[in-house]
Amino acid sequence: MTTRDVVIVGGNRIPFARSGGKYLKASNQDMLTAAIDGLVSRFGLQGERLGEVAAGAVIKHARDFNLTREAVLGSHLAPTTPAYDVQQACGTGLETAILVANKIALGQIDSGIAAGSDTTSDAPLALNDNLRKTLMEVNYAKTPQQRLKALTKIRPTQLAPEQPENSEPRTGLSMGEHQALTAAEWGITREAQDELTLRSHQNLSAAYDRGFFDDLVTPYLGLTKDQNMRGDTSLEKLAKLKPVYGKSGDNPTMTAGNSTPLTDGAAAVLLSTKEWATERNLPILARFVDAETAAVDYVNGDEGLLMAPAYAVPRLLARNNLTLQDFDFYEIHEAFASTVLATLAAWESEEFCKGKLGLDAPLGSIDRAKLNVNGSSLAAGHPFAATGGRIVASLAKQLHEKGSGRGLISICAAGGQGVVAILEATK
């Protein structure tokens, strides 16, 4: 069976806001709709029926069971555009792109939007689990007596809502605490993390200044740039921050500066066949080449929680007959500065590459000048499901500006998962 080329037409996102910031009153649906509508106006897609829209959110209300479809209905796309929700933690955004791309490649659809939205400002608060169980009992009670008896089980402590947690259900450790273990294991220094952080802010700020985001970002609710961005930060400022994770260890290195903050935002990417784009006089930025996902057993301590991309990338390279050095751009999601650095260290390690990946030799190092050249999550922020769309669109535009070459995307996700992909410039 032959597959078809999949191209990226363009993308759109809203600026990312710090949690509790400008988007405090915006819901996932509001933000996702805004991201899609910005894409619609950029490419004149009003009333267009697309093959599908795949999107998701990691932190989601139960009422948002059909989040993406509702967003489509609220957008200027044709209401006959089908949509579905996807959820794969921080890999959600890139996974939606893979799903849409695969359907296009298979000839099932000609066009689609891959998107994601997340907000920790509008997070669902669940009923206390004990209260919920009691109320279910009341609900199912058959007689008034049974009902009264069940109601007497309610205790004041049950009235506190269950907070959404940023921790792994199987270990009870937060993502930061998990990463602190990995950072220590790989000996990632505070200085190296702060340097990476500084570069992320400087690169993102410079990209805004040169108008790189003029056709990638549409302002929203009074925010015109990513709220977390500190173009004027410095190593000195970053060095002053106190460690927040791994404090039980000897030498904690992870601070609020070199870890991504909780963020709100949404991003969307338009994918299609070349023909579909050409017929509509739409640009073609890059080709979506291939993708891979991996998962690691972090529960039993075999591997760090966020190290799965280190496994996914070699498999993707092998399948595409490429080496790690065959890329012009590397987009490695900065969940934490130490995640990026540990991943790069792993690929440089003979022990890791031979022992864990079963390779003959290490993948080697990369040219750091090609890493996250227009900034990444440390500066922009990381609204979980929106990060994939941010990266795919930005990388596609970078490749288009360069006019040649290849880019690698690597995104780590909760649950010990990793989603990676290759984009290529189109000639």
């Binding site: 910005g38 106006s41 950029r42 004149g44 108008g211 003029d214 549409t218 302002p219 006089n281």
Partner: protein, 454 residues
């Protein structure tokens, strides 16, 4: 959108009160709705002499479906007239003007609400005989005075038809139709010059911009957003441009009218290239560019610093030169086609000056200078260059003017009210019509015949 006094004076007790007390009563102006008839009722057409242009005008009005009666000194009108057209282009002596007086009097008395008077003359500069030139120049004084005497939303305007164009009905159609229609609701007392031009056949007068690609800068809000709306209604494929920081509202404007949004600072060094690239992406060249983007940084001249001075000139004028330079390069893909239209936005501040606006007035007067010069330079390529000069327009910006100043600006004009952003959009769309090929180098005031800047 209608201001409080206009509303009050046209409803219930307010209407009775203002009438009895003899207070000024701003009329509710008829404005264009898609598919609307050119005029509501019949037109009277009169002429001095054989009336070559009057014949063309009669044909144009009849083609719109309206009836035409003769406007003569002894005419009586059973029904209210919707419009009066008087062709005085053949007048060469002051005595000829008596014919105009005699014929127009009864016709104007019979004119109904939102009535239209269009006087047609020969450009005085084309006449060598001093009395002939004086006679024709007199038409401007007459028309401007009649604009001030019109009642109930009526307007009076003057079409100078060049001698070479007087036998050409095609080149007259778009300008005459504009002044007769409700699209010129807030234009009164204004002259427009019509020359020869290559005018294509118009299939649908309600979609005069069908198939045209237009770039509109400053389209995220206010007047720009309304221009974009009018263009989309008229059938144009619109590329709406505004600064990235205004992208939110720009996107909404574009989505509501089926346009594409281009986030771009017009002062960026590569603004022209990026506009051309966006046009080329859509396939083909550019038909129309509307330079609407503008800012104000008001201060008394002596308190105006370099930044306030420079930014206003840069955004409002300098950027247009840079963008035009790229778009007018025939080698640039997505550049302005031969036969294309450039439209600027001047201001009555640029004509009459305005306290605290020396920088703004400089930029807007500069637009007028550019229009006059560039129109000649581009005549060989059949590219027309025109500008509108808005007066007091009800926008978010004018809503912030202190109430007393605002009321003066709003009432000190023949129509006793501020204009709407759509009025500016309609005038710009008129310049943009392929049918307006004979109109170039013109600055049309959309000011309700304001006495400010007059």
């Amino acid at each position: 959108m209608t201001d409080a006094l206009t509303k009050f004076a046209n409803e219930g007790i307010g209407k009775t009160l203002t009438t009895k007390l003899g207070l000024p009563r701003p009329a509710l102006l008829r404005r264009y709705k898609d598919g609307q008839d050119l005029i509501e009722g019949q037109a009277a057409v009169g002429a001095i002499g054989s009336g070559m242009v009057a014949k063309s005008a009669t044909a144009i009005i009849k083609a719109s479906g309206a009836d035409v009666v003769a406007a003569q000194a002894d005419s009586t009108y059973a029904d209210k007239l919707a419009a009066v057209v008087f062709d005085a282009s053949a007048a060469r002596g002051l005595d000829d003007l008596e014919q105009l007086r005699g014929a127009l009097g009864p016709a104007l008395k019979a004119l109904g609400k939102n009535g239209r008077l269009v006087v047609i003359g020969t450009p005085p500069a084309e006449l060598t005989d001093p009395e002939a030139a004086a006679t024709q120049q007199a038409l401007e004084g007459i028309t401007r005075s009649l604009g001030k005497e019109m009642r109930a939303g009526g307007t009076a305007n003057l079409l100078w038809v060049a001698l070479e164009a007087q036998g050409d009905s095609a080149v007259l159609a778009a300008p005459l139709r504009f002044f007769l229609s409700s699209r010129s609701a807030y234009v009164s007392g204004q002259p427009v010059l019509v020359r020869e031009g290559e005018v294509p056949d118009v299939d649908d007068w309600h979609k005069p911009l069908l198939g045209e690609t237009a770039v509109i800068t400053g389209a995220a809000r206010g007047i720009g957003a309304e221009i974009a709306k009018v263009f989309a209604r008229a059938g144009a494929k619109v590329i709406a441009v505004d600064i990235p920081a205004a992208g939110d509202s720009l996107s909404k404007v574009a989505n509501n009218i089926g346009a594409t949004a281009l986030q771009l600072d017009v002062t960026a060094a590569d603004a022209g290239e990026r506009i051309a690239a966006a046009v080329a992406q859509q396939g083909g060249g550019l038909d129309i560019i509307v330079h609407n983007a503008g800012i104000t940084r008001d201060k008394l001249f002596v308190n105006t610093d370099e930044a306030r001075w420079g930014s206003v000139l840069n955004v409002n004028l300098q950027s247009q030169f840079r963008i035009n330079k790229v778009l007018l390069d025939p080698k640039v893909k997505g550049g302005l086609k031969d036969g294309g239209r450039i439209i600027g936005v001047a201001s009555i501040s640029g004509i009459g000056g305005n306290r605290g606006q020396s920088n703004y007035a400089a930029s807007k007067a500069g637009v007028i200078g550019m229009v006059r010069s560039l129109s000649q330079e581009l005549a060989a390529r059949r590219i027309t260059v025109n500008a509108v000069a808005p007066g007091f327009i009800e926008t978010e910006m004018t809503a912030k003017i202190p109430v007393a100043t605002r009321e003066v600006g709003r009432r000190l004009n023949s129509l006793l009210q501020g204009g709407q952003p759509i009025d500016v959009g309609e005038a710009i769309a008129f310049f943009a019509e392929p049918g307006s090929a004979g109109v170039t180098g013109q600055v049309l005031r959309v000011c309700g015949q304001s006495q400010l800047g007059a």
